[in-house]
Structures are given as structure tokens and as C-alpha cells.
């Protein structure tokens, strides 16, 4: 008997509060295998929290999060995390390690860790994939520009060829040209690897470049979800206001 495969990532009525502040108020969302889902929403609406609850960095209070139909926390933590790669908002590169050791960090851990020379070769290959030359490998993160740090972060996220990649605000702090380059790279890499991607952003150029589907998070709930080519015609007042950056509408703008 063959049924429909479970979504790669499934949120079911997920809730999370910090003290009296309810950040997630019942998020329900499916991300099928191989799909690139972009979650948009204003600052402080819980986008990053939703992403970190999947990885267990922030534990959720209620509801369930499933990966391939299995609730998170049911599998061995190392095996679970080995399926993920993540590009952090600020890069989150380790200051004390040179670039190649940042990229190869995961490859040097665990039972199947690579030798130093193999890990370095693989790191350089990944750096080339994101458009960086081999001579960057021995520099420290502080010696790189913001755009280069994002590329190194991207190389680190894909180094172990994960099945699921998370991108947290991938273009924040970059100029429009560099943002375009990073967006294109993300799209190319996600398609090439066949990975399932979940991106958090409020940059609409990233949405159009990266997304297969878009979900709008507001007030702790998913307000709208649909294919990226339908965002202009969604008919959802929240989506419309966010898309066109209007101060007037159902989303209250703090002046």
C-alpha cells in the first residue's frame, strides 16, 4: 500500500510563549520534500522562533513538529541534527577558527569524521561552490566582508550535504547587488542538492528569488500560504499590506 508521503517538515498547532508574551499561537504548516518554503512577516512576529523550534534550539510549548512524520525529539539528537544545515542571520561564524575550519566543522566531528587534509579539500571545494577562492580558506572571519561571511556561512550550511536547509534572514545587512547574488546562490544550491529549504525573511526580492511557496506569519499564526506566483493575487489583506509596504491595513505599524 502506498500512500501520500508525509511532509518533510510539519508544524501542527505549535505554540511558544516567553513569559506572558505569546509568540507562536498555533502555527500549522506543511513543507513537502524538495520544496523551498519562505516564511515572511514583520519583525518580532516569531519567524526565527518557529525555525529554531524545529531544531530544538528553542523548545516549543505545545503542538507537534514532525520531520518525515516523526515528531522531533523521538530520534537520536546527533542523527536528527545531521539532516540539517543552517545559515544564520549574522553568519554566526566561529571567530577563533579560520574559514576552512568553520566550513568543515561538522565534517571533523563524530564517528565518521574526515582527516584534516580531506576536510580542508572539501571545505575549499564548498567555498568555490559559493564563489570564494581557495586563498580565503586560511583567513579568519573577522577579515572578511559581510557578503563573504554570508557565503562562508552558506558553504558551512551545505558542507555535509544536508537534506533540509534553513536560511535565517539571508540577505540582511547586504547591499542589493550582493543580496541578489546570495539569493541566486541559495536557489541554485537548493535545486542542485534537491534539499528542502525553509527561509525566514522580510526581503521581498529574496521571496521571489528563492521561494516555491510562501507563508505569511502574523500575530503568531500563519495568515496565508500559497505558491510564490500567487502572492500578488492572494486577496489576503495582511499579505497585500506586507507586499506593498503600506502603513495602512490590518497589520498595525508602530510609529
Amino acid at each position: 500500500m502506498t500512500g501520500t508521503p508525509p511532509p518533510r517538515i510539519a508544524f501542527r498547532e505549535v505554540t511558544k510563549s516567553f513569559g506572558p508574551k505569546e509568540v507562536l499561537r498555533g502555527v500549522t504548516l506543511d513543507i513537502p520534500v524538495g520544496e523551498s518554503m519562505v516564511i515572511i512577516g514583520g519583525s518580532g512576529t516569531g519567524k526565527s522562533v518557529a525555525l529554531k523550534t524545529v531544531l530544538g534550539i528553542i523548545p516549543h510549548d505545545g503542538g507537534t513538529i514532525e520531520i518525515d512524520g516523526v515528531a522531533v525529539g523521538r530520534t537520536r539528537r546527533d542523527d536528527f541534527l545531521s539532516r540539517f544545515g543552517m545559515l544564520f542571520q549574522g553568519g554566526a561564524l566561529f571567530d577563533s577558527l579560520p574559514v576552512w575550519q568553520n566550513v568543515a566543522f561538522r565534517l571533523r566531528q563524530g564517528r565518521d569524521r574526515l582527516s584534516k587534509s580531506d576536510a580542508r579539500d572539501l571545505a575549499i571545494e564548498k567555498l568555490r561552490r559559493v564563489g570564494l577562492k581557495a586563498d580565503v580558506a586560511d583567513l579568519f572571519p573577522a577579515e572578511l566582508s559581510g557578503g563573504m561571511q554570508k557565503r562562508v556561512g552558506l558553504a558551512r550550511a551545505i558542507a555535509a550535504e544536508p537534506e533540509i536547509i534553513f536560511f535565517d534572514e539571508p540577505t540582511t545587512g547586504l547591499d542589493p547587488i550582493m543580496s541578489g547574488v546570495i539569493n541566486e546562490l541559495i536557489r541554485e544550491i537548493v535545486v542542485e542538492m534537491g534539499a528542502t529549504a525553509m527561509t525566514i525573511t522580510h526581503d521581498m526580492s529574496s521571496v521571489r528569488a528563492i521561494a516555491d511557496k510562501v507563508a505569511m506569519l502574523h500575530d503568531g499564526k500563519i495568515r496565508w500560504t500559497g505558491p510564490v506566483d500567487q502572492i500578488e493575487t492572494s486577496g489576503d489583506p495582511y499579505m497585500d499590506q506586507f507586499l506593498h509596504g503600506r502603513a495602512e491595513g490590518p497589520i498595525e505599524a508602530v510609529r
Binding site: I57, L81, Q89, G90, L93, D95, F105, R156
Partner: protein, 264 residues
């Protein structure tokens, strides 16, 4: 009626403070227990441990050495001045030795290392927390408690006794130098008196204190850095709290350990 309300509020405020202190102590104890459990469970990170040995132990040698040298010298002068009142100037070598080895070596060494290492660990880990580097470690299948915290605490606990032992020798030499050049002691007699007077309990009680202080220094640095608040202000507060709490705990534990060793 108003007086009763004021008493009620006053008692409630005391209660809140006590609960807050108990909760903070509980968090530190749980943090320490988790860190210790990671020290004895694989995977281990020997390279990270050796890096911390260099940073916490080797690079603290000049600070601890200079502190011990000047303290030993000053101690010799003070004991000579005090001893002269009872015609007991000859006790200088013995009291300098026991003062340095049992008390001043570990306490001043611990306080100096607290200022140097606790602050550095808290600032480093606080920055890692704020810039999401600790979260990044988790996503890279690496437990931050095991990779960051355990090697630092282990390195500090093992390095402090060695640092203090070296500091004790330098402190006694400081007393010796003042004794022979300033107070006209015979160099050979000074050293012989020191050796004759010191007992094994003096040495190992000081080294046990040093190990405990090393543990406290790294634990406070790691705890406050790991749980640092957001932004530069959060990291600054974590750094201050690490140094202050490490210093106070060192002095409090010093009294407790001295009581423990008092009868021996």
C-alpha cells in the same frame, strides 16, 4: 492597617529576594552538574582543552607570578615589623612560607585569575551567545556544554594548583629577597627555616584551595557568559557578574576550606 500592609510588602520583598537567590543558586548548581557530566562522557575535545590550558594556565603565569613576588616581599616586611615588637624577627621565613602557601598564594592567585580569566570567558561566551555562535554549534551536531564549557572548567581546575604552586615558590623567593637584602637575614638560613617549618598539609591544603578556586573562576565565567542577555549591555553585565561572583565565591569558599583544614 497601613502599617500592616507595609510590613506585608516588606516581608514579600524579602521573600522574593530569597526565592530569587535560591533560584540563581539552583541554576548554577544544575549548570555545574551538567558541565561535570560532560567532562566524563565522550566525545572529548583534547585540542580545545589544550588551547584552554595555554590560555588559562600558561598566559596567567606572569600575573600570578608578579602578584606572588610583591606579596611575598611585603609580607616579609610586615612580619618583621610585627615580630620586632616581641623580639621574634626570626619567624619571618616561617610565617612568610605558611602565609603564602596556605592563604595568600591561592587566594590572591585565585582573585587575579578571576579578574583575568572569568571576565575573558564570560565576554567570549556572551559574544558567542549574542552572535548565535552557540546556536550554530548546536546545529552542527556539537553540544556547546561539551565543546565550550567542559574544557574551560577542566583546564582551570587542573591549571590553578600548578599556577599557585609556582606562585608560592615565587612568593617565598620574594620574601627571601627582602629578607636577605633588606632585613639582613642569611640566605641559607632563611631557606633552611622555610623548609624546616613547612609541612605537607600546608602545601596540599593550599593546592586543594587552588583547584576549587580554579573551578569557581571558570564556572562563573562560563555560566554568566552562556546565559548572557542580548546586546553589548548583556555581555558587559555578564562580564561584571562573572568577576564579582567569582571573587566573592573565592573568598567565601576560602573561609569554608580554611575552617575545614584548621584542625589539621
Amino acid at each position: 492597617m497601613q502599617a500592616l500592609t507595609q510590613i506585608d510588602n516588606f516581608l514579600a520583598a524579602i521573600g522574593r529576594s530569597v526565592i530569587g537567590i535560591c533560584a540563581a543558586v539552583g541554576r548554577v548548581v544544575i549548570f555545574a552538574a551538567i558541565a561535570i557530566s560532560h567532562m566524563v562522557r565522550p566525545p572529548f575535545y583534547p585540542v580545545e582543552f589544550l588551547h584552554q590550558v595555554m590560555r588559562i594556565g600558561y598566559y596567567s603565569l606572569p600575573v600570578v607570578g608578579m602578584t606572588a613576588l610583591f606579596t611575598g616581599g611585603a609580607l616579609a616586611l610586615q612580619i618583621y615589623a610585627g615580630g620586632a615588637r616581641f623580639n621574634a624577627e626570626s619567624v619571618v621565613p616561617a610565617i612568610v612560607a605558611i602565609g603564602m602557601v596556605r592563604e595568600l598564594g591561592p587566594v590572591l592567585g585565585g582573585l587575579m585569575v578571576a579578574g583575568r580569566v572569568s571576565s575573558s570567558i564570560a565576554a567570549e561566551m556572551g559574544t558567542m551567545r549574542v552572535t548565535e555562535q552557540i546556536d550554530a554549534l548546536t546545529t552542527l551536531s556539537t553540544n556547546p556544554m561539551k565543546y565550550l564549557v567542559a574544557p574551560r572548567i577542566l583546564a582551570a581546575t587542573l591549571c590553578m594548583p600548578i599556577l599557585v604552586a609556582v606562585g608560592d615558590v615565587i612568593g617565598i623567593m620574594g620574601g627571601w629577597a627582602v629578607g636577605i637584602y633588606r632585613l639582613n637575614f642569611s640566605g641559607a638560613t632563611y631557606i633552611q627555616n622555610t623548609i624546616d617549618f613547612l609541612q605537607p598539609i600546608d602545601i596540599w591544603s593550599g593546592l586543594v584551595k587552588a583547584a576549587v578556586f580554579g573551578f569557581i573562576v571558570a564556572l562563573m565565567g562560563c555560566y554568566h557568559g552562556y546565559s548572557s542577555g542580548r546586546g553589548a549591555q548583556g555581555v558587559g553585565r555578564a562580564t561584571t557578574n562573572a568577576v564579582v561572583s567569582a571573587s566573592v565565591l573565592i573568598l567565601a569558599c576560602n573561609y569554608a576550606l580554611t575552617e575545614l583544614f584548621f584542625s589539621t
